[in-house]
Amino acid sequence: MDDKIAGITTEEHFASGHRACAGCGAALMARLALKAAGKNTIVVNATGCLEVFSTPYPETAWKIPWIHGAFENAAAIASGVDRALKSLGKRKDVNVLAFGGDGGTFDIGFQALSGAAERGDNFCYICYDNGAYMNTGIQRSGATPKYASTTTSPAGSKIHGKTEFKKPMPFIMAAHGAYVATANIAFPLDFIEKVKKGLAFNGPAYIQVFSTCPTGWKLGGGFTIQIARLAVESNITPLYEIEKGVVKISKKPSKVIPVDEYLKSQGRFKHLNESEIKEIQENVDENWQKLLDLEKNKSKMC
């Protein structure tokens, strides 16, 4: 049964034939996460692209039990599932996995997620980060990178896209005492390992997965993996884990590429001028150094 290709099971719990755009990172993310979790899993899904494209009634892409309630409450529903399983005496047999987009996690669902983590509820929450409210037409979220053009932070002649850097969600979740990891769809083995670890962790786990959105980023559908890889190789979205508050970097690029390489192929960044690119580069370098320092010092974040 457990055939593997390159160390990944060929068993599928997320069916093909759903309605995602060509090259959708979120679809790949869900497929990989379910490979890690296996069939004894209950999925809770926040409103967003993933929920919409996978369940046009009466069709469903989910071969395992799945529930969707609203945009901002996936973590609270997952708490209910977790405790119900506990009261049924089935908690050890079943994984609880929650999926939320960056809008449903960084912004509107933040309170519910913080509450669940504070209670120590036992589930793995995966935020698939495509950097905007994609389902409703590419509006800015707290996860949108600085200067990215979205429909609510357009690149105008006066204001050049989003004016703030991204909210540091992994650190915020680490401060709650959760198992935290960042992952990327271009690094499936690393992602799968982290999902397994998150599910095995006895308490809240938070995994933030970089998920390309060709439609929202104004990028060809064939570049999903390539651009995701560049995000890691340029240190824009480093891969790391935070366990018991201690940072461990999962992958250090052997040769760091300039951010420009990552930015230039995406329509959402095409308006950037030199000084803006420089500012992004400085911010990336600073964050990377901070991560290296945290790892080196083993300073506890919770």
Binding site: P65, A70, S87
Partner: protein, 352 residues
């Protein structure tokens, strides 16, 4: 206001008297969301709220009903802000009347206890599968000390057997719950939910009858209760604890030879139109007392009560009165005044 309820439940759990999980949520929005998760996983679920908390749940209330999850929730009825006010009226739950929840309004502490037990049996009935709101007046009921007869566990278990969900989240039999409904399917979902809540009326009545058989206590026919209505020419209509006061007023006015009676609406959703018109056949004047106000129109019960008579030939004269907002006492004098004013006014009057 719901705090007493959850405090006692926490004591029961922590003293080992109740085998349950308590989720200490950070908000009412998450409370009702967690209830979705646990109920969908196949576990009987209860929550309680009031006022602003219920308003915060608003979005999710539709989802509980739409997903056909038989959650039971106590609402300690209280006024809504602004101005902020922690006292009783029915504005909170009345404002949720279109969410698809069955709504039962309560007159006494005993009725609250009995109705919670019945609520599960109604909600979980596979012909219904809808959530139930048990609405009890904040303070007047939620903070009252009244002796209640607590039925023994064995009898309750017989009346309300183990939860048997029709569908649940179970890896052995995977289901997709809460998919997106496009314009070609959405309307059927709404229609089915509507038909289920309409169907629920007979099941509410049946459950009341069964409860009566098992515990020797019942509340009218389950959807409404009448008092001295048989030969009445005047009736007052109300929900909740106002009815207790109204019974006393009816007795006093009867002593004065006035033919008055009371109609207590217990079930506001589904709205018991036929039961209402049937019990009003010989009544000439009706005073509907609302503990809520649909701003810009009139009390909600008044509107709905009148609509029950729209296709009737001999319509009684029906007047609307707004009373008891934000914890204002509804006195015997208020109720007497409502009786006196019926037929003498053509606009909603405020008893304040």
């Amino acid at each position: 206001m719901d705090t007493h309820i959850v405090e006692r439940l926490a004591e029961f759990i922590n003293n080992g008297e109740l085998n349950a999980e308590m989720i200490h949520v950070e908000s009412e929005h998450s409370a009702i969301s967690a209830a979705i998760g646990s109920e969908a996983t196949g576990v009987r679920t209860f929550t309680a709220t009031a006022s602003q908390g219920l308003a915060l749940m608003h979005e999710i209330l539709f989802i509980v009903a739409g997903m056909r999850l038989p959650v039971v929730m106590a609402v300690a009825n209280r006024a809504l802000s602004a101005p902020i006010n922690i006292w009783n009226d029915h504005q909170d739950s009345i404002s949720e009347r279109d969410t698809g929840w069955i709504q039962l309004y309560i007159e006494s502490a005993q009725e609250a206890l009995d109705t919670i037990i019945q609520a599960y049996k109604i909600a979980e009935n596979h012909e219904v599968l809808l959530p139930v709101m048990v609405c009890l007046d904040g303070f007047t009921l939620s903070h009252v000390f009244e002796p209640v007869d607590i039925p023994n566990e064995k009898d309750v278990n017989k009346f309300l057997p183990k939860y048997n969900p029709l569908f649940k989240l179970d890896p052995k039999k995977p289901v997709t719950m809460g998919p997106i409904g496009f314009p070609d399917t959405y309307m059927e979902f709404r229609q089915e939910t509507h038909e289920a809540i309409i169907r629920a009326k007979e099941i509410i009545k049946k459950t009341n009858t069964e409860f009566k058989k098992s515990f020797n206590r019942g509340y009218g026919d389950g959807v409404l209760e009448t008092y001295k209505i048989e030969d009445a020419e005047y009736a007052v209509v109300a929900m909740g604890t106002i009815c207790g006061t109204a019974r006393v007023v009816v007795d006093e006015m009867r002593k004065e030879g006035k033919k008055v009676g009371l109609i207590k609406i217990k079930c506001f959703r589904p709205f018991p139109k036929e039961e209402i018109t049937n019990c009003c056949k010989n009544i000439k004047n009706i005073a509907v007392i609302d503990r809520n106000i649909s701003l810009g129109n009139e009390g909600a019960l008044f509107t709905e009560f009148k609509s029950a008579f729209y296709n009737q030939e001999n319509k009684p004269i029906i007047n609307g009165f707004v009373a008891g907002l934000g914890g204002r006492d509804v006195t015997k004098e208020h109720i007497k005044k409502a009786f006196e004013r019926t037929g003498k006014t053509n606009q909603t009057e405020w008893l304040s």
